[in-house]
């Protein structure tokens, strides 16, 4: 695997190109033919040193050019400064540059503040020895001189050739041979590909499997035996559509699907950053997401409110901006300016990263220190977006009527007034008695003491009667409207050229309108949901597909760039995206469309021939069997034992093991070590909330089984279930049937009945029932979706 390190500091293209504009043209470039290894060495080892340690004084960027020397083009270096040529190619010993960095002469020792690292000096020396390789030739330099602005990328080529930058085109659903299989247009795209590959789709899942799948998928809870029975008995052709509609209308739908989105939003209930302080009101953002899903808030509006809900002209609401406001916010723990700059840079990086990968499927944060190595994203793009967030701060917005806020403020003011009065009274007494303040109270006469006590009594009364702090939510608020410069190598204290706030050039073009209103968040939101933005709709329909199937059409849902995967079904992806936009960005409509397809309704059954052919199921010949998310598993356990508390919304539960509420309501921290739920969720593969999660991974480790075997949670549920089984009347086979229906939505097989009777014996003690129940609850079938 080729290593593509995180932030290869080969950037500062802008600097380079600008310098080439001024480069002399008549200097010979006979070393024009450097090898790619030499150029790579320069880019990796030498240019970063020059940019970091030299350019603030020796480049076109320098505020004040020192010693007339510029090191930002080969020609300039050869020409040198006041002391003559900076290098003699091939001869480090005769090169002033080498002497300076080796601190040979104290007067010319460079950089003046601190000697370079040995490795850097060695790199510069080796580079001079090589003959000072530099990319491009003088011919290229003169071309650059002529063009008004050198380009970092071939933008048009990217727009033409990279699938995700092309406009969304809704192709006509293809014709297929087996038309009877087709329930909707989705099926045409899927079947056409299968037919072309000579693979047949799996048969439809049986009804029990189907209804269980639908429940787990849409509301994250298993169906009750009654719900299964009703569906089995409903012979009408729209029976399943009715199930889907009822699930989409359930408030539990919002809980289940909010959790998917919260992965993208790297949601946690603590600040993150260096300290991970708890944020008390993050749950209001979580509830907003739940409500938005339940209300089928159109996705374009859903995003707009998360970026700029507070700035909307119509019905402004900052609740959604919690998407950014509850993100990790870094602060330095001392007063060191370097650390402060680092902290701010990290916070901005979180915002840009969450924004770009989460909403657009682009890794814009890679362009923090240098232009993106693979995708057409410049550092200017990065700082154009970062600038929007730099003009934004976190604000605690009241969520109560203004009168309540006013009453709180009045109460606080009354306290302050009284404190002031006491202070003034004491001040006057100090003067009157000509004493020092601490001695005054001891020297007061009875009457004076009494009036002071009265004043203090009044203060206590005011404190008691003051209304408590009103409830708030964490949102965003504008704090300015200024552009920021590119930070050279990501260091905010090394400003480069200005990066006016605007949308990404690859999408919005060179003439992208700058953002000027406040922070620019509302304009940014408009750019995200603009009809000609090819990314936003593709990214979300792809995510939704992935959440329904276990694998998305683009298997890198947060990276639609060059290093991401290509869609397995590009025409289907585009058709879904176009259809989604055309129908008002409705999520519920999209779910319905997918669930009512033959594709989604296929069985997940193993098929050796097809598996050998396409084990990854890229052709979509079956539904992917998969492990459930940990939240659904815990919720299912509480549901089948009849203990689930179905209350929707409200503050989170710190103590997940005492709470019987759904797992989405458990408090979680960013570092994953504060709340009870943290460790549990991580054990079962919930993503760490340190950055936007692309998708969940599943791992199988022994600790998961220790949880099933020994945790008080599991033994507790087992007791409840065991006691319930014990209490059933009638023959044991009926107990077991009811139990299996309740847990797995199916009756037991004879072998399973046999196993149970072997375990339980004739007159099992309660404990025997409990232990049996615990293993039924630990079974793989409960943590799986088929």
């Amino acid at each position: 695997m080729k290593s593509v390190p995180a932030s290869i500091p080969t950037g500062a293209w802008a600097v380079v190109f600008m310098s080439l504009m001024f480069a002399g043209t008549n200097l010979s470039a006979k070393e024009d033919t450097f090898t790619s290894e030499q150029i790579e060495f320069f880019e990796n080892k030498v240019r970063p040193v020059l940019v970091t340690h030299c350019y603030s004084c020796h480049s076109a960027e320098a505020k004040k050019l020192k010693a007339g020397l510029r090191l930002d083009s080969r020609a300039r270096i050869l020409k040198g400064g006041d002391s003559g040529p900076a290098i003699v190619p091939g001869n480090p010993a005769k090169s002033l540059l080498s002497q300076a960095v080796n601190y040979g002469d104290p007067d010319t020792a460079m950089p003046p503040k601190q000697k370079l690292a040995d490795a850097d000096i060695a790199a510069l020396t080796k580079w001079v020895e090589m003959g000072a390789p530099w990319p491009g030739s003088d011919a290229a330099a003169s071309r650059a001189e002529k063009s008004t602005k050198a380009e970092a990328y071939d933008w048009e080529k990217f727009r033409r050739e990279h699938w995700s930058f092309r406009p969304i085109v809704a192709a006509k659903p293809p014709k297929v041979r087996r038309a009877s299989w087709v329930k909707g247009d989705i099926d045409r795209f899927v079947l056409a590909r299968l037919e072309a590959a000579g693979v047949t789709p799996n048969p439809a899942a049986e009804k029990r499997t189907l209804i269980r799948r639908a429940y787990l998928d849409l509301i994250g809870l298993p169906p009750t035996p009654e719900q299964v029975a009703a569906f089995l008995n409903d012979r009408r052709s729209n029976a399943f559509a009715k199930v889907v509609d009822s699930l989409l209308a359930s408030e539990h739908y919002g809980e289940r699907w909010a959790r998917h989105w919260l992965d993208v939003a790297r949601y946690s209930e603590a600040d993150g950053g260096f300290g991970d302080q708890p944020l008390p009101n993050t749950w209001r953002y979580r509830d907003w997401v739940v409500r938005s899903f339940n209300a089928d808030l159109p996705y374009d509006r859903f995003l707009t409110e998360q970026i700029a809900g507070d700035l909307l002209a119509e019905k402004p609401d900052p609740a959604g901006t919690g998407f950014f406001a509850v993100g990790p916010t870094y602060v330095g723990d001392g007063g060191d300016p370097e650390a402060q700059a680092q902290a701010e840079a990290e916070t901005l990086a979180d915002r840009v990263d969450t924004f770009s990968r989460g909403l657009l499927g682009l890794t814009v944060a890679c362009a923090r220190c240098h232009d993106h190595k693979f995708d057409p994203i410049t550092t200017k793009d990065y700082y154009a977006i970062a600038g929007v967030f730099r003009n934004t701060r976190r604000e605690n917005f009241p969520v109560v009527p203004q009168a309540e806020v006013d009453a709180f403020k009045a109460g606080q003011q009354a306290i302050k007034d009284q404190e002031k009065q006491i202070d003034e009274w004491l001040h006057a007494a100090t003067k009157r008695l000509n004493l020092k303040r601490p001695e005054v109270e001891k020297s007061l006469d009875e009457e004076a003491k009494k009036s002071l006590a009265e004043l203090r009594g009044e203060l206590e009364r005011r404190k008691k009667s003051a209304p408590p702090m009103y409830a708030t939510l964490h949102g965003l608020k504008d704090s300015g409207s200024v552009d920021m410069p590119v930070a050279l190598r990501g260091d905010l204290r090394k400003p480069g050229e200005m990066a006016p706030r605007r949308f990404l050039e690859i999408v919005a073009g060179k003439e992208a309108a700058p953002y000027t209103k406040g922070s620019g968040r509302l304009e940014l939101a408009r750019s995200v949901v603009a009809s000609d933005n090819p990314l936003t709709a593709r990214v979300i329909v792809n995510r939704v597909w992935g959440w329904h199937f276990g694998e998305a059409l683009v298997r890198t849902p947060s990276n639609f760039g060059v290093l991401g995967e290509k869609p397995t079904h590009p025409e289907l992806l585009d058709w879904l995206a176009a259809d989604f936009i055309q129908h008002g960005w409705s999520m519920k409509r999209l779910h319905r469309q997918i669930l009512l397809s033959s594709t989604w309704q296929m069985s997940s059954h193993f098929d050796k021939a097809k598996f050998t052919r396409d084990g990854d199921n890229r052709l979509l010949w079956r539904m992917n069997p998969r492990k459930l998310e940990v939240e659904v598993w815990r919720d299912s356990l509480l549901a089948v034992t009849g203990e689930l508390d179905r209350t929707i919304g409200g503050p989170s539960a710190n103590q997940i093991w005492e709470s019987k509420r759904r797992t989405v309501y458990a408090s979680t921290s960013r570092t994953g070590d504060i709340y009870q739920a943290d460790r549990f969720l991580r054990l079962f593969d919930a993503p760490a909330a340190v950055s936007s999660a692309e998708k969940r991974v599943t791992s199988t480790v022994p600790q998961q089984y220790l949880f099933m075997m020994n945790s008080p949670f599991m033994t507790g549920r087992a007791q409840v279930l065991g006691d319930w089984m014990r209490g059933l009347s009638g023959p044991r086979a009926h107990h077991l049937r009811d139990t299996y229906e309740r847990l797995y939505s199916r009756p037991p097989e004879p072998a399973e009945l046999q196993l149970a009777s072997e375990w339980l014996g004739k007159n099992p003690a309660p404990e025997r029932w409990h232990r049996y129940a615990q293993m039924l609850l630990s079974a793989h079938e409960l943590i799986q979706i088929q």
Partner: protein
């Protein structure tokens, strides 16, 4: 030659794995024929059925197989411990240009000589402060690096830089990278264990976190003040069942799951689960054992002494003996998460107490490892996130110093009785053979058989590394 040896070890480890599994099968776990094929065949491991912690081939022959990191959060002062600077006494109170650099609190005071005496020790004649009399006896096994430097003089960021190679807590920790790269030589314990008495170092879980690496590579944290194995691995103990009862119970679950597997014909998660369940069963008994130091000989226990930190040192040895890949033991006294930061007000009291809290334990660990022939393949690294300035803060304290500080390494392939790099004559800045934290991390990976430029993980479209785009292996400290 060495490479062959490792290859052999590796194959032996795999062999051990295999026979263990086989034994389990014979024990009556009764794994069905399908599951069996999947579990034992090479194909199965290629398909990812094997444990994520199974031992993996390094990039080249390693010099150290495991790492014990003795982490000293808060910033121990180099000039009061291992970086002897007699010039401080001559220039006491002065503020020469070379030390006139901004510190965190931007103190403007002059040079302050160390309040502690220094003596020479060992064959190598290393000068060591009187507060580390026992570690001083081990100097002939140690490589001191006096030219460390890091990015910022703040605890939170500095600690993350040391442990994650990054200033932000969203990168995997050194221990996670190592277990990701090498797996572990035990399947009964986590591959990476982090411990501290009392407080967790600032940044908490991030210091042993896996970030975007798979969850199996997260460090398990245990507070050795309480010493509950259950804290290392949750839910380790059954509330009321005997071993036999548990066995019965697991057999029942295995049968339930096998019926499911038979219905599905093939299911990777389920197959892996059957294997993981058996490991879980064994862990219940192996984990408490490793944390139980009462079984150590009287002599060994005496060697380590009674301090909390020393107990951590002893457990560290027991953990690596069991095949744990990385142990991080952080020092904390009085519940302070950045123990060595007591140096702001008063070096004398603060540093003397801290050194006393760890001196014997560290020396005992080195001696014990050596006595057991384990030191040669175990890398021990001692150090904080930065050092402290030779100038004073207030009357008796010292402010943070990220310009230069000292870290030492011992065992696993490093030179013995050796000092590398140098700080300036007063000990503020690293001036000769400077070693950045990234270089140190690159060197640790190198000693463990990993190329820091090749140990990458693709996350969200980009290959991440512990050393980001930096790091040079310090070959000169390698024996």
């Amino acid at each position: 030659m060495k490479f062959l040896q490792h290859e052999l070890d590796y194959r032996r480890a795999m062999q051990r794995q295999f026979t263990r599994r086989e034994a389990l099968y014979r024990m009556g776990a009764g794994i069905g024929a399908i599951g069996l094929a999947a579990m034992f065949g090479d194909k199965a491991s290629a398909a990812g059925v094997g444990s994520p912690l199974a031992p993996k081939m390094p990039h080249f022959a390693p010099r150290a197989k495991r790492l014990i990191q003795l982490f000293m959060p808060g910033g121990p002062s180099q000039v009061d411990t291992f970086d002897y600077k007699p010039m401080l006494a001559k220039h006491a109170g002065e503020r020469p240009a070379s030390v006139d650099k901004k510190s965190l609190r931007n103190t403007k005071m002059g040079l302050m000589p160390s309040p502690f005496g220094f003596k020479q020790y060992g064959q190598c004649g290393k000068w060591v402060s009187d507060i580390f009399p026992q570690v001083a006896q081990c100097v002939d096994d140690i490589s001191f690096i006096h030219s460390m430097h890091t990015d910022i003089p703040e605890h939170a960021g500095g600690i993350l830089m040391t442990n994650l190679g990054a200033l932000q807590p969203n990168r995997p920790s050194l221990g996670s990278w190592l277990t990701y790269g090498l797996g572990a030589e035990t399947q009964n314990l986590p591959g990476f264990v982090a411990m501290s008495p009392r407080a967790e170092p600032r940044g908490k879980g991030a210091n042993w976190g896996n970030a975007f690496l798979p969850g199996a590579y997260a460090g398990a944290y245990v507070n050795i003040q309480h010493m509950k194995p259950d804290a290392v691995i949750g839910n380790l103990k059954s509330a009321g069942l005997s071993r036999q009862q548990q066995r019965e119970q697991l057999d029942l679950l295995a049968k339930i799951n096998q019926m499911q597997l038979a219905r599905l014909e093939q299911d990777q998660d389920l197959e892996a689960g059957i294997q993981a369940m058996e490991m879980a069963f064994r862990m219940q008994f192996s984990v408490p054992e490793v944390f139980d130091v009462s079984k150590e000989s009287e002599e060994t226990r005496k060697l380590y002494g009674d301090s909390e930190f020393a107990k951590g040192c002893l457990i560290s040895r027991r953990l690596i003996e069991e095949g744990v890949r990385v142990v991080q033991l952080s020092l904390s006294i009085d519940g302070y998460d950045i123990a060595w930061d007591t140096g702001h007000e008063n070096i004398v009291n603060g540093h003397a107490a801290l050194a006393k809290a760890c001196d014997q334990g560290i020396a005992a660990l080195l001696t014990d490892l050596k006595g057991r022939g384990l030191l040669d393949e175990t890398l021990v690294v001692w150090g904080g996130e930065f050092g402290r300035a030779p100038t004073s803060e207030g009357a008796k304290g010292r402010d943070h110093d990220h310009y230069g500080y000292t870290v030492w390494m011992a065992g696993g392939g490093v030179k013995k009785g050796f000092s590398y790099g140098a700080s300036d004559e007063f000990g503020l800045s690293a001036v000769e053979n400077r070693v950045h934290v990234h270089d140190m991390n690159a060197t640790i990976l190198h000693l463990m058989g990993l190329d820091h430029e090749k140990l990458t993980y693709r996350f969200s479209g980009r290959d991440y590394r512990l050393t980001d785009v930096f790091g040079h292996v310090v070959h000169d400290v390698i024996a």
